[in-house]
Structure formats: C-alpha cells, structure tokens
C-alpha cells in the first residue's frame, strides 16, 4: 500500500488549471522527487497535500486515510520561500512552531535542544532570528520542519541558497531521517540535485504529470544506447561496425548502437579490431534531458 496517495487532483485558480488530474503514489520510507519547472504546479500540489489548500476534486490519502487538519501533525513542510518570525528568539520560535504541530511544551523543548545540539547551535537559543545569517536561518527552518518527527517530510527546494557544507549536512540528515522511517518528498526544478537522492520521481509540467517512475528505470527507458569508450592506440576502420560514431576525440569515442545489440558484442568487436579498451560506459540520460524530451513535444502542440 502506498504511504501517500493522490488521485485525480484538480485545482483551478480563476481560469487557470494549476493542477490537472494528477495522481501520485509515494511508497513508504522512500525519497520521492516532485520535479518540474517553476510554475508547473508543484507548490499548489504540496499545499494540497499539506491541507493548506483543498482540491477542487480528487482525494489525498495518507496511510490509507483521507487527509485532514488533525492529521497534519504527520507532516513536516519546509516551503520554498523560507519564513520565520524575524523578531522572535530562536528557541521561542522553535518552541512555538513545534507546539503548533501538537507537541507538549516539555517534549518540544527536549527535542529542539537535541536537534540544536546535533547542529552544534545550542548557543543560538536566545538569539533573535534576524541576527542569524541566511544559512543559519535555514538550519532553524529545517529543525522546525522535522522536530515533531513527521512521518512525511516535504521539502520545497531544500538546497537553494545553501553552501556546500550545509547542503551536505541537510542531505545526510535527510538520509538519516529516512533510515529512521520517514518518507520524504522533494520538490525542485533543479533536477540534477535530486538524481542521486530520489528513488522515484514524478515530472510535473503545466499542472499535469507527464512522467513518473523509478529513477533508474526511467533512465533505462529513455536511454539512447550511447556508449563512451576510452581507448589506447589507433582507430581502426569502423565500416563494418555494429554502431555509429557520434564523436571522436583523442583516446575517447562516443558511439550509438541499436537497442537490440548487446554491449558485449560491441566490446568483442572493438577488441577484435585490436583496440586497447580503458573504459566502457553507457551514457544514461540525465533527468533534465528526459524532462526536455518529454516536454518539448507537449509545448510544441
């Protein structure tokens, strides 16, 4: 059974359909990527999941039950445009947000302190939020998102504006939370960021889901049978070769074959031609490329 299940969600603002018949299934304890360019409808979809907006039609089921306000405690949501009360003290603000999520005061305090200790920022408790740098504020924001141990964590553009050190910190926290049982939804337009994090993705474009599936399967599905070969020696005559040459550089060759040809055949052929092979890689399409190939026929309609 899916952990989160959206079926046929429709949301219309004025005349524009922000979300149009979108169905998504997210498996428990997985990292799911919701990808798409800006304005594709990702944020609207997230707001529907978090119960901030109600869909015009369609249902949202969390753990097999319909979503409602009393169950939002199960969700931790970090919006794209981070927001905190600037004038509040870090500790008070985190306490307030955690208690809004339904934690008791003592429980909230204990958990916040644990998180602040983990990030080594316990001495920020009495600092005002506005005194912190942007990256520091992002850490606070992250703590406020996960402090109530949500089963579903939704992160909208989680890495935007983060330096590499903090990006790694957040990334490793995400994996840790997943290993502790959380399900994570990433929303981003920067697809290269999530390729190695997400197990499954859905591509959203103009309010519609254009593609979904496991990342490695999608890559297989959209691969163009391109191989990159590192070699030594002179290039033989390739007139009889079972492939086309796409690019020929010094000691590096890119070729494209037919889908029905086994890579072993190519290797055998090359070796038979007397080449010394140093590397042999299949070039899989990036999510970005897949997205573009999927979207361009649509937008050209």
């Amino acid at each position: 059974m899916s952990f989160l299940s959206l079926s046929n969600i429709v949301k219309t603002f004025d005349q524009t359909k922000a979300v149009d018949q979108v169905s998504i299934e997210v498996q428990p304890q997985s990292i799911f990527g919701m990808l798409g360019p800006n304005g594709a409808g990702k944020t609207t979809l997230i707001r529907i999941i978090t119960n901030i907006l109600l869909p015009d039609s369609g249902t949202v089921m969390l753990e097999g039950q319909p979503m409602n306000l009393s169950r939002t405690r199960l969700i931790g949501y970090m919006p794209e445009e981070r927001g905190l009360y600037k004038k509040m003290k870090v500790g008070e603000e985190l306490l307030y947000l955690a208690r809004l999520r339904g934690l008791s005061k003592a429980e909230a305090k204990q958990k916040i302190e644990a998180w602040m200790e983990r990030f080594d920022i316990l001495d920020w408790w009495d600092k005002k939020v506005e005194e912190l740098s942007k990256g520091m504020q992002q850490k606070i924001q992250f703590i406020s998102t996960v402090v109530h141990q949500p089963k579903l964590i939704i992160l909208d553009e989680p890495f935007s504006g983060l330096d590499p050190i903090n990006t790694n910190l957040i990334r490793s926290e995400i994996f840790r939370l997943k290993s502790e049982g959380a399900t994570i939804i990433f929303s981003t337009h920067r697809m290269e960021q999530v390729e190695e994090i997400c197990e499954e993705i859905a591509l959203i474009h103009q309010g519609q889901k254009v593609l979904e599936g496991q990342v490695h399967k999608l890559k297989q599905q959209f691969k163009k049978n391109i191989f990159k070969i590192g070699f030594n020696g002179n290039l033989p005559n390739f007139e009889q070769a079972p492939f086309r040459i796409l690019e020929e550089k010094q000691a590096c060759l890119q070729i494209q074959t037919n889908p029905d040809i086994n890579p072993n055949e190519i290797l055998s052929y090359l070796i038979a031609q007397g080449m010394t092979i140093h590397s042999f890689n299949e070039v899989l399409p990036s999510l970005n490329e897949i997205f573009i190939t999927q979207v361009s026929p649509l937008s050209n309609e």
Partner: protein
C-alpha cells in the same frame, strides 16, 4: 493547550515583551503629561519679554494715588509701566532715550459719559504691543471706566458685584427621572468617542501589520499546515486586543497613581488662578478673568454630576463597545492585511474603505452629542459600523434600555458578519503572492 490559545499567547507575549511596548506604554502618557506641564509652564512664564511702557495718562484712570499721595501705575502681565511727565509731543520721540519700549497715551475723554462707547488710545512704538498685552490693557481700562461710571451714577461697585453674583444651573431631567447634564455629557461623550476612534485605528492597524508580516515572510505557509486560517486570524485579533487591554489597564493604574502623586506634590503649591488669568490655555485668545467662586462652583457641579452617573454600568458599556468595535474592525483590517502583502502603498488604498466609516462615525458622534435625541443619533447608535463610537458617547444622555440592547445585538451580529467575511478574504488572500489585488477580487473572495 489549543492551537488558537497558542497563537493568542504568541501574539500577546511577543508584543508585550518588546521594549517598545514598555516604552510606548510608559512614555506616551508621561509624554502627554510633560507636554501639558510644559504648556502650563510656558504660560506661567509667559514667553513674551517684559515691555517697559511709558504711560501718559491724562484721564487718571490708569494710575492711582497711593496713601502717601504718590501717583503710581500697577504693572500688568509683562508690562512695566512708568508714568510720563510733561507734554505728549516731546515724549513721542524721547521715550526711547529713557529706556522705554513704547509710549501709551490715554487722553482725557469724558469716560464717565454713558453716551460714549468708543474710546481711542494711542500706542507709539517701533514694535507691536502684542495681542495679549492689548487685551490686558483693554480689560483694565474697561474695568476702570466701568467703575468711574458707576461712581458717577452713585452706585457702589461692591454692591453691584454682589447683585451680579448669580450662578444658574439648569438641572435637566429625562422623563424617566434620570438626571442628565448636557454640558458634561457632551464632554464625556466626545472624550469616549475620541478614545474609541483612537483605539480602533491604532490596534486595527497593528492587526493589519501583523498579518502583512506573516504573509511577506511566508511563515504563514508553515503555520497554515497546522492550523486553520480562521484560527490564525482570530488568534492574532484576540492576542492584539489583549495587548490593548493590558496597555489600558497600565494607563489607568498610571493615571490613578499620577493623580495621587501630583495631588500630594502640588497641594499648596498651586499657583493662584489670578496669576494665570492671562491668555487662556486653549489657544492664546484672551480669556475672561477667572472668577474663583464661579470656578469652584462649576467644579463642584461637575463632581456632583459625575457622581450621578452610573459608573459601573458606564464602564461595562464602554468595555463592551470597545471589544465589539475592535473585533468588528480588526477583522476587516486583517482581511486587508492578508490581501496586500508587502506593498504598503497598496495597503493604504485598501485600508481607506475601512477608515472612512470610522471617520464618518467620528463626525456623526460629534454631531449627536449635541442632539442626542435626533434620528441620526438613534440610527447611528444601532448601525454596527458606527455604534462602537456613538453608543458610548450617548450613554450619559440615558438612552432607553431597548435602544442599548438593540445596538448591542446588532454589534454582535455585525462583528460575527465582518469576521466571517474577513475570514473568507483572509483565507484566499494570505496565500496569494505577487499579484495586485483589486476590490473586485476581494468581493469575489468574500462572496465565494
């Protein structure tokens, strides 16, 4: 603890704990009192520099003869008088050489002649005499002329003053036996109405700013995934209302202790009212000389009348309309705040339709305290947008109980209605970014 309570607590505590709250709460009244004291101080000092004036008094009215037979003039206000000797002509050019600022010439003019009522004096100087000094000289001379005429007619001035000393107090009674007093009720009504106006504008704006803050820094998105928009809006309105109540309680305590303190401090040191009988405190226009007896009589009258008000009822009504009026308008302010976001010029345009009824109510209030039984007074005390200002102002005039009850019920219906309306606008507006909102859209959201 329910989430709405949490929100109320945050809205309340973050504001009350701020240094600026303490500063405005303590300093605003202290500032007002200082300003008031300063005004009195300046009046007592009378900023105008001392004028030395030479008086050529041919009438003999301005000067008087002492027991020892010398002729003298008493100084008045900021004017030091010196009696001139000799002819007028040379004096007009020589007064300066004698260290004088001007020359006042009072010709002999048959002042005791009752047929004459216009007299001309001359003042020669290169500087104007000043409006206050003119008034003082006029008063002094008029008094002397009056006394001269009285003695010419063989009337004893003292006897006349006793005859004149009549104070009339019209005791107005409503037909149900309640005592009313137009003057005092008028003052009370104006004061209360002004206070309500001030409260609604100041705290309404605070609500609007708070909503705008949440919207512009996007925290609203996080909060709304835990609570309903209505809870957030209501929590903010109630939290800020509680700040207002706290501020007023502090002010009442401050005013009470200040009153006691000042009373102790000033007891016995109060200046003689006669010495401040120059320009009035209100606007610098020359005031009538304050008659001590009359003043005491009036104060006593006011104290008696205040005692005749049903104070607990008045305070109860005032608190009810304060809360009702605040809730009604704060909801509207919250709706506007949710619709505008960070553009403050937008907010001014959208806030206008809210401030207009408050301002109109204020003007109506000033009119109806003069005519508390008019139909304007009745209808404006029933209509929920104006009743928070009008009804408390009408209370001293003892309106019938059913009118008060009807007004209260209408106000409750009114704020339930505006809150529902505002909640609908708020729910949509708070999540709408980067778009200029028009009235038509607001109406569409409200009616959805």
């Amino acid at each position: 603890m329910s989430k709405t309570l949490l929100i109320i607590a945050r809205e309340y505590l973050t504001r009350v704990k701020k240094k600026s709250f303490l500063i405005t709460t303590i300093l605003a009244p202290v500032g007002m009192i200082l300003l008031f004291c300063m005004q009195i101080f300046i009046l007592l000092l009378d900023t105008g520099e001392v004028k030395r004036i030479m008086v050529k008094d041919d009438s003999g009215l301005f000067s008087h003869t002492t027991v020892s037979g010398q002729t003298q003039i008493r100084d008045l206000g900021n004017m030091q008088f010196t009696l001139a000797q000799g002819e007028l002509e040379p004096l007009t050019s020589s007064y300066k050489e004698q260290g004088m600022d001007g020359l006042l010439y009072i010709p002999n003019n048959h002042y005791e002649d009752n047929q004459k009522n216009v007299f001309q004096l001359q003042y020669i100087s290169d500087q104007p005499l000043g409006i206050n000094n003119v008034a003082i000289i006029n008063r002094k001379l008029a008094k002397e002329i009056r006394n001269a005429r009285l003695s010419a007619a063989n009337i004893d001035p003292d006897l006349l003053q006793k005859l004149d000393n009549i104070n009339i107090d019209i005791l107005e009674r409503a037909d149900d036996g309640n005592e009313v007093n137009s003057g005092l009720a008028f003052g009370f009504g104006m004061g209360v109405g002004f206070l309500m106006y001030f409260i609604i504008i100041v705290y309404g704006t605070m609500v609007m700013k708070g909503v705008m803050e949440e919207k512009t820094n996007r925290i609203v998105e996080v909060i709304l995934s835990s609570v309903r928009p209505f809870q957030l809006m209501l929590g903010k309105i109630i939290g800020i209302g509680a700040v207002g109540v706290t501020q007023f309680i502090i002010w009442i305590i401050l005013a009470g202790s200040m009153y006691l303190f000042l009373g102790l401090l000033l007891a016995g040191y109060l200046p003689n009212p006669e010495s401040i009988s120059g320009p009035s405190m209100m606007g610098g226009t020359p005031a009538e000389a304050v008659d001590m007896d009359e003043m005491q009589f009036k104060i006593q009258m006011i104290l008696d009348r205040v005692g005749s008000f049903n104070l607990p009822l008045l305070i109860g009504i005032f608190v009810f309309y304060f809360l009702g009026g605040y809730l009604l308008y704060a909801a509207l302010f919250a709706a506007v705040g949710s619709a505008v976001g960070d553009d403050s010029s937008d907010s001014q345009a959208l806030v206008f339709p809210i401030t207009i009824p408050i301002m109109i109510s204020f003007f109506i209030m000033m009119a109806v305290v003069n005519q508390p039984n008019s139909s304007l007074a009745f209808w404006s005390s029933i209509f929920p947008l104006s009743s928070p200002l009008i009804m408390p102002a009408l209370m001293p005039f003892s309106p019938p109980w059913w009118q008060i009850l009807l007004s209260m019920i209408m106000l409750i219906i009114g704020f339930v209605f505006t809150t529902a309306l505002a909640a609908k606008i708020y729910r949509t507006g708070i999540l709408m970014w980067g778009k200029k909102i028009t009235f038509r859209e607001l109406a569409k959201w409200a009616l959805k």
